[in-house]
């Protein structure tokens, strides 16, 4: 075999401000044309490993303790400056929004080459070459901030590829993409490897990456290297409750645990409630039209309702009107035509503060709302605004802390908490207002599988808690994650081009592949397994719960290895 592009030998790193090592004794190598998947839960050391390879450690993160060796094309990284490394190692950050600095696509893709002081003609040639390679030449003169999530991701990748690195590091490249865009990005990554580049992908969405047949998997846990080798071995050893594996593998692994310990009966079946049509209407949308510019309607003739008992997932591509609709339910927007009734009152005659008692909305990023010096004050902010008295506020805050498991954090500044805790404070802020509907925008984005299932389970459990009364009568969440929707929702709204194109239970709405395709959704292994087992289950379940329906014989028949490209 040729010279390895990357050799990591016994690499360890400790951040200056931490006691514990973030990464310990990591060793692996990667060759030209290979795709390496780096998997593991949040905090496992994936990002630290990436920073060691691209030179941000030690050049930007100074003062830590670094040991071991990294060789790129046989040369030690240690002696290189960031600029010479930037030509060998290209890094695409998790969020393309954080990576893009150019105002226009051309300027963005050219940025690195301009910094290397290449001749202008050479830069323009390389920009066109890489835009063509990624199939985005039509975006060349577009403004970067106005691109869709998938387009931004490809432009960020183009900016890195234009520098012609041998090694490409992708940090959770799929996190903000709708399923169809994620698939397109993965196809581009496969083409990169086929053209001889070495690609390292850090990704929680293991199942998606398996579609492009990675050559090897590096699995990290708490900074330690737990597995290094081919995909099949990884699938056999990985814990399906920690890492999101293809549904068949996850269900089979849990089934075999059940067979080994007969008393265990796998994950409990989630109580998603009865769903549509049972409870009283809390929010009603009647023929809602909305636009900023009359020539480009954002919502068109949307009629539906949110009823007590609903757990609604809003699915659809970016820009299809999902967030705009939810903003109508909280009075941040008012319909141009039609009307929205919240607790029976027309939103044209109410304020956001008044509707907050009915619908509480948790924005995607907790950073957009947290400001108070302590968690307790943060939680008291909403109830105080909407007119609760001090005794009620104290009671609501205590209740919200208990339900969201924030005990002990009340005196701490919310901004000093971890991201996951901040998100819980965001939810608690809504619980404290005693809103009847909890609405969330991408509640699980940026969280690993274990954290996101724990988070969603906790929210679902809240529906049955409280002092004899559930804090929420209905839950609504916007997501790109089809599996999240079919695992937790009892009702799905599908959006495309500003229209509500389907509204019903997951078993019904997700049965139509053509409809999914129109909404830029790609059937997942969990959806396929659910469809196959539907005659026995009668309703869609998550993989862990499906295990009980897998007969031991079927368990042995489930194919292993990579999934075919959809």
């Amino acid at each position: 075999m040729s010279t390895p592009t990357l050799v990591v030998h016994n690499l360890s790193y400790r951040y200056r401000t931490r006691q514990e090592f973030a990464l310990r004794g990591c060793s692996f190598s990667a060759y030209p044309g290979e795709i390496i998947l780096i998997a593991g839960a949040s905090g496992c050391g994936k990002t630290t490993l990436m920073r060691c390879i691209n030179g941000l450690i030690p050049h930007s993160y100074k003062g830590g303790e670094l040991s071991g060796n990294i060789l790129i094309k046989g040369e030690p990284v240690a002696g290189h400056s960031l600029s010479s490394l930037a030509q060998k190692v290209g890094t695409v950050l998790q969020d393309p929004e954080k990576q893009i600095v150019g105002a226009y696509v051309l300027n963005e893709v050219a940025f690195g080459l301009e910094n290397l002081a290449l001749p202008r003609d050479e830069i323009l040639h390389r920009v066109d070459e890489v835009l063509n390679f990624l199939g985005i030449a039509h975006l060349r003169d577009r403004e970067t901030f106005a691109l869709s999530g998938g387009e931004k991701q490809k432009v960020a990748l183009a900016g890195v590829l234009a520098m012609r690195p041998d090694l490409i590091l992708l940090d959770e490249p799929l996190a903000s993409l709708d399923p169809a865009s994620a698939l397109e990005a993965l196809e581009a990554i496969r083409r990169l490897a086929d053209s001889g580049k070495t690609v390292l992908i850090i990704e929680h969405r293991v199942e998606d990456v398996l579609r492009i047949r990675p050559d090897k998997v590096l699995y990290l846990e708490d900074g330690m290297q737990r597995y290094w080798g081919p995909v099949d071995g990884f699938l056999a050893m990985a814990d399906p409750t920690q890492v999101k594996l293809p549904a068949e593998h996850a269900a089979r692994a849990i089934r075999s645990r059940m067979d080994a310990a007969p008393r265990s009966d796998g994950a409990p079946i989630l109580d998603r409630g009865h769903g549509e049509g049972r409870g009283e209407p809390l929010v009603v949308f009647e023929h809602v039209d909305f636009w900023y510019n009359p020539e480009r309607p954002v919502l068109h003739d949307v009629s539906t309702d949110i009823r007590a008992g609903d757990v609604i997932a809003l699915l659809g591509p970016n820009g299809s009107g999902k967030t705009t609709l939810v903003k109508h339910a909280i009075c941040l927007l008012r319909p141009r035509r039609g009307r929205v009734l919240v607790a029976g009152r027309d939103t044209r005659k109410t304020t956001a503060a008044q509707t907050a008692r009915t619908v509480g909305y948790v924005f995607q990023s907790p950073g957009h709302m947290l400001f108070a010096p302590t968690v307790a004050e943060e939680l008291a902010f909403g109830p105080r605004n909407i007119g609760f008295d001090e005794t009620e506020i104290a009671r609501n805050v205590a209740e919200a802390v208990r339900i969201t498991h924030l005990e002990g954090l009340e005196p701490l500044p919310p901004l000093s908490l971890s991201y996951g805790q901040q998100r819980r404070v965001g939810i608690a802020a809504v619980v404290a207002m005693q809103s009847q509907v909890l609405a969330m925008d991408e509640p699980t984005s940026g969280q690993d599988y274990r954290h996101y299932t724990a988070f969603m389970d906790a929210i679902m459990a809240m529906r049955r808690q409280g002092n004899g009364e559930a804090p929420f009568k209905a839950i609504l969440f916007i997501t790109h994650d089809l599996d999240l929707a079919l695992s937790y929702a009892n009702r799905i709204w599908l959006f495309a081009e500003g229209r509500l194109v389907a509204d019903g239970p997951p078993e019904q709405v997700l049965a139509d592949d053509a409809l999914l395709q129109r909404c830029r959704l790609v059937p997942t292994s969990l959806l396929r397994l659910n469809r196959a087992l539907f005659p026995q289950t009668g309703r869609f379940q998550r993989a862990e719960a499906l295990a009980r329906y897998l007969p031991p014989t079927l368990a042995a028949d489930v194919p292993t290895g990579g999934m075919p490209m959809a």
């Binding site: 105002a103 690195g112 202008r120 909280i330 605004n385």
Partner: protein
């Protein structure tokens, strides 16, 4: 991620001029305007500034937000100066035709006075500030966002400063977008900025739910940008290439020459005392 100003490509006489020439002209004009006290000249400047907006074919819809902020601020400042009688003391010594009023405000008796000098001083201030605002508006609204960096580079800034200025320029509309998002997030929690009461200190404290998330977000955003630039070799070579190119043409040189001439003339006229504070006392 940085957002661009609401720029529209329009083939107008203003946009056809090189952005460097436009910035130089605008700077000369603004300095000249600051040096003038004569209302007659300032009114001409105001007319000229508004004409340039017209020539650039900027629509009211585009500029509305800007003027909705600038007009009340300028009006407030000018009125305050006029009524308190402060400011302009170096421009005039005598006062004619004093009007005196007596108002009671918060239990205190106020007796503002207005003289013809104060009135003309206010009008001069008003015209001056609006002219400067209108001219400044041309920079974000008529310069292609991809040209900011190379424009500032062309004005003599170093590569690093030119890129930094480009980013700083686009930071303003980005802040606007973040402000809107944070305001929405807090309004969903029942926060109503229009109902804020209390004294000045309390009012500032009441803005914390907006100011803190925006500030923290801006700091974290800046760190991300620094990492992203480091990873693409920013600032590691003594020189960088600029893909966007600008070429001076004859009309651009003419524009610069006109700007510089106006500035020099203004300085001379001011030295000669010709464009000093003017009150039409002769008419009275």
């Amino acid at each position: 991620m940085l957002v661009n100003w609401n720029y529209k490509e329009r083939n107008t006489i203003v946009q056809r001029l090189d952005p460097r020439a436009r910035v130089i002209f605008i700077l000369c004009a603004i300095v000249a305007i600051i040096l003038v006290w004569d209302l007659r000249v300032l009114v001409l400047w105001l007319a000229f500034s508004l004409l340039t907006l017209r020539l650039a074919r900027l629509t009211w819809a585009e500029m509305r937000r800007f003027w909705l902020v600038v007009l009340p601020v300028v009006t407030f400042l000018v009125t305050l100066t006029a009524l308190t009688g402060r400011g302009g003391e170096e421009a005039y010594r005598e006062r004619h035709l004093n009007w005196q009023a007596t108002w009671t405000l918060f239990g205190r008796s106020l007796s503002p006075s207005l003289s013809i000098e104060q009135l003309f001083f206010a009008a001069s201030q008003f015209s001056r500030m609006l002219s400067m605002a209108a001219l400044s508006l041309l920079i974000p609204f008529t310069i292609h966002p991809a040209q900011y960096g190379v424009t500032f580079k062309g004005l003599g800034l170093s590569d690093k400063f030119a890129v930094a200025t480009d980013l700083a320029f686009r930071f303003v509309p980005t802040l606007g977008r973040d402000f809107a998002t944070v305001l929405d997030a807090q309004r969903a929690r029942g926060y109503e900025v229009e109902r804020l009461g209390g004294g000045l200190v309390q009012q500032v404290r009441n803005l914390a739910p907006l100011i803190i998330p925006i500030t923290i977000g801006a700091i974290l955003g800046a760190e991300d940008i620094i990492d992203a630039m480091d990873l693409r070799a920013f600032g590691t070579r003594p020189k960088r290439t600029w893909v966007t190119q600008l070429v001076y043409r004859r009309k651009d040189y003419v524009l610069i020459a006109v700007g510089v001439t106006i500035l020099v003339l203004t300085i001379i006229l001011r030295r000669l005392g010709i464009i000093a504070f003017w009150v039409p006392l002769g008419w009275l």
